[in-house]
């Protein structure tokens, strides 16, 4: 009897989990399906789910109209570049906050996080003027630095949380053995925090990949990533849903694949410290 109950419970939980997963994934699935429809089928009422004339025409039209690979390479350089640059600054910062906390460390962390609450539009014009003066408009370097600065509070917070899990005694032992500060961070702390750093890296690559406000405003053509590629297919006067879906599928495919292969690290990153 007990076995039956547990079997029923297992099936119920599995069923609910799959149901929730399907609901969450459905918009992406619908986008992918729409990308293979004609524009007429894309707006058909009642909607056509699987039984329509499948076509790859939208993909070929998108490919012919936009330099997809330029946008793709810009996205790769900007998202990975900004994350690596952010890690370079955040690892020492998180180390000092986790292992050498001062009286105001907590306040400093909160202040860093509070900068994320500021509406981006409020500082658009000053940053635009600075970029214009420094010749950074529509450059990969400029947008990489801005995205690094935007994500720096999150990178620092995540690393701080991971570093706090590492016993300080281990670092103390390394110091007793004569390790310099550089060696302590490079050869003792970093290897122990690799899972945390990997999670931070992955999450921030995704955040930078999806960032749309600054990438739309500070790039034009040469440094424009995939967010501007998608924006070019949206229209308030004209039904281009199938083409927009094809462009969206092409833009999210790389990050979706990355997420699929690194889901363990991502889940660990998002749930780290949740249960103690």
């Amino acid at each position: 009897m007990a076995r039956n109950v547990s079997e029923t419970r297992r099936w119920t939980v599995t069923f609910i989990a799959w149901g929730i997963a399907l609901v969450i994934f459905f918009p992406i699935l619908w986008t992918i399906l729409t990308s293979f429809k004609s524009e007429a089928d894309a707006i058909a009422s009642p909607p056509k789910f699987l039984f329509f004339d499948w076509t790859t025409r939208n993909y070929s039209e998108v490919q012919a109209r936009s330099p997809y690979f330029r946008h793709f390479s810009n996205s790769v350089v900007i998202s990975i570049g900004s994350t690596l640059l952010g890690l370079l600054i955040a690892i020492p910062a998180a180390w000092s906050m986790a292992f050498q906390p001062a009286k105001r460390t907590k306040d400093l962390l909160m202040w860093m996080l509070s900068t994320k609450m500021m509406p981006a539009a409020g500082v658009l014009i000053p940053i635009y003027l600075l970029f214009r003066s420094w010749g950074l408009l529509d450059t990969r370097l400029g947008i990489t630095v801005v995205l690094m600065l935007i994500n720096l509070p999150i990178i620092t917070w995540m690393l701080y949380t991971y570093f706090r899990e590492i016993p300080g005694e281990i670092l103390e032992a390394a110091r007793m053995d004569g390790a310099s500060l550089k060696n302590e961070i490079l050869y003792v702390l970093t290897p122990m925090a690799v899972p945390g750093i990997a999670s931070t890296l992955l999450l921030n690559v995704i955040l930078a990949w999806n960032e749309a406000f600054w990438t739309l405003n500070l790039t034009t053509s040469q440094a424009a990533p995939l967010t501007t590629f998608i924006a070019s297919y949206s229209s308030p006067e004209g039904l281009f849903y199938a083409k927009l879906s094809a462009a969206s599928t092409m833009a999210i495919a790389p990050i979706l694949i990355l997420g699929w292969f690194s889901q363990k690290q991502l889940v660990r990153g998002l749930t780290f410290g949740a249960v103690k």
């Binding site: 524009e39 229209s235 039904l239």
Partner: protein, 435 residues
């Protein structure tokens, strides 16, 4: 100096001299609609004739483009050499010296051929500041079969009462046929475009001669009450979320009896590839009340004063808005696909008249639009379905939210108008009106 070294130096010198000639790249910001995308496809004839000019396209959604281009031009960022702007922005930007005047467009350009209402909206002190790429007004698109079944005949220009009556008679809710589809989504370019045009036709105005908002007037009350009533009785469900695209989808799938919107929609609903009712669509002029409902919009190509390549930019603008360009499009895709609403010569062309059954209605709609006199009372602004002041985008969208709420049943018409009056008074005072 060795021979090789000399050759290398010589090659560098030649490259340096040739570089400025080879490297003139024009960055063109444009919106994503059918005519603009066709222009991108057709540019090979321009680049072949002008091998020293390369084109870089930046296509963005209309509202993103507007915000992006405004930021760049206001800060003189110089990111764009040619921008696609509407006739709402052109007079405002020209007054700020953000746009270069379009002088000396070449002998063959024939600026006199541009339709007078369109040219007037793009000029300042008689000088053209943007070249119209295509122009549009508003019209009624209706289902001829449903109109016949309702026992009605659509006049050339119906009254609002006729439209409301027809909408109620054409409605067949069990079969998902709705007599009328109108914009309900909040936004200065969405529901407020239609409602401003409708209210002007009822004799209402946004502001009096002292720039005092007029939403507390009787004309606005009548216009908004009629709009909400007919949409509740004969409109589709969830109409407060419907903009141009949603109504286009409803009409193309046979769910709307009538649709009053931009004339550009005519080419979509009459295209049998996308529309299930392409062979059953009739066209009529926008309704009239105390005055005909007016609507005038033009997508134009303008040159920001921050450009580094004014001559090359002018060359491109002259090509893309010329009569020769229209002929190139006609040869490639047929006359029905030529950008409409800008040149008199197009409407005199018998081939175009035959290919575009909505041509005469479009022309009549554009020609009847009077930007300076959109309503029965004197107003201090220009604009038919918009108001030509910089503050209108923000005020229009906020007021549009109130009217959208009234349509959704979240507020009464009186409450929405009262809120609109308060918002408009506050924002106009903040902006320092009267100026």
């Amino acid at each position: 100096m060795s021979m090789m070294w000399r050759a290398l130096m010589g090659a560098c010198a030649v490259t340096a001299m040739g570089a400025p000639v080879l490297a003139e790249t024009l960055t063109i910001a444009t919106v994503n609609n059918g005519d603009m995308i066709r222009m991108q496809r057709m540019t090979s004839s321009f680049t072949e004739a002008n091998p020293d000019i390369q084109l870089e396209w930046v296509t963005l959604e209309e509202n993103v483009l507007r915000q992006r281009v405004t930021t760049d031009i206001a800060t003189r960022g110089g990111q764009y050499d040619i921008v696609t702007v509407g006739n709402y922005e052109v007079p405002i930007w020209a007054a700020q010296d953000w746009l270069l005047p379009l002088e000396d467009m070449g002998e063959e350009y024939d600026a006199e051929d541009i339709l007078p209402p369109i040219a007037a909206g793009l000029s300042r002190d008689g000088q053209l500041f943007a070249a119209p790429f295509y122009g549009e007004s508003a019209m009624i698109m209706y289902r001829t079969d449903l109109m016949e079944a309702a026992g009605l005949e659509m006049p050339e220009r119906p009254t609002w009462d006729f439209v409301f009556d027809a909408a109620r008679k054409m409605t067949d809710r069990p079969n998902e046929i709705y007599g009328i589809c109108l914009r309900g989504k909040a936004g200065w370019g969405e529901n407020m475009a239609f409602l401003t045009s409708m209210a002007h036709s009822y004799g209402a105005a946004w502001f009096d001669a002292e720039w005092k908002p007029q939403f507390d007037g009787e004309a606005w009350n009548r216009a908004l009450s009629d709009y909400v009533a007919v949409m509740n009785e004969a409109g589709p469900p969830g109409a407060s979320s419907n903009g141009f695209n949603e109504n286009l989808a409803l009409f193309q799938t046979g769910k709307c009896g009538m649709w009053i919107d931009a004339t550009v929609a005519a080419s979509f609903v009459s295209n049998p590839d996308d529309s299930t009712v392409a062979d059953k669509v009739g066209y009529a002029l926008a309704p009239e009340g105390e005055k005909p409902a007016m609507w005038l919009w033009a997508w134009t190509l303008a040159i920001p004063s921050s450009t580094q390549s004014p001559d090359a930019a002018k060359k491109f603008v002259a090509w893309a808005t010329s009569k020769a360009y229209a002929e190139e499009i006609a040869a490639a895709d047929g006359w029905a696909n030529v950008p409409p609403g800008t040149r008199t010569s197009l409407y005199e062309n018998p081939e175009y008249q035959e290919a575009a059954p909505f041509a005469q209605t479009t022309l009549d709609s554009i020609m009847s639009a009077d930007l300076a006199n959109p309503t029965t009372v004197e107003v201090p602004y220009i604009g038919t379905q918009w108001v030509g002041i910089p503050e209108f985008q923000a005020i229009g969208t906020t007021v549009g939210q109130q009217f959208s709420a009234a349509l959704a049943g979240q507020a009464t018409v009186e409450q929405a108008l009262q809120m609109a009056q308060q918002i408009a008074e506050r924002e106009m005072t903040r902006a320092g009106y009267p100026k």
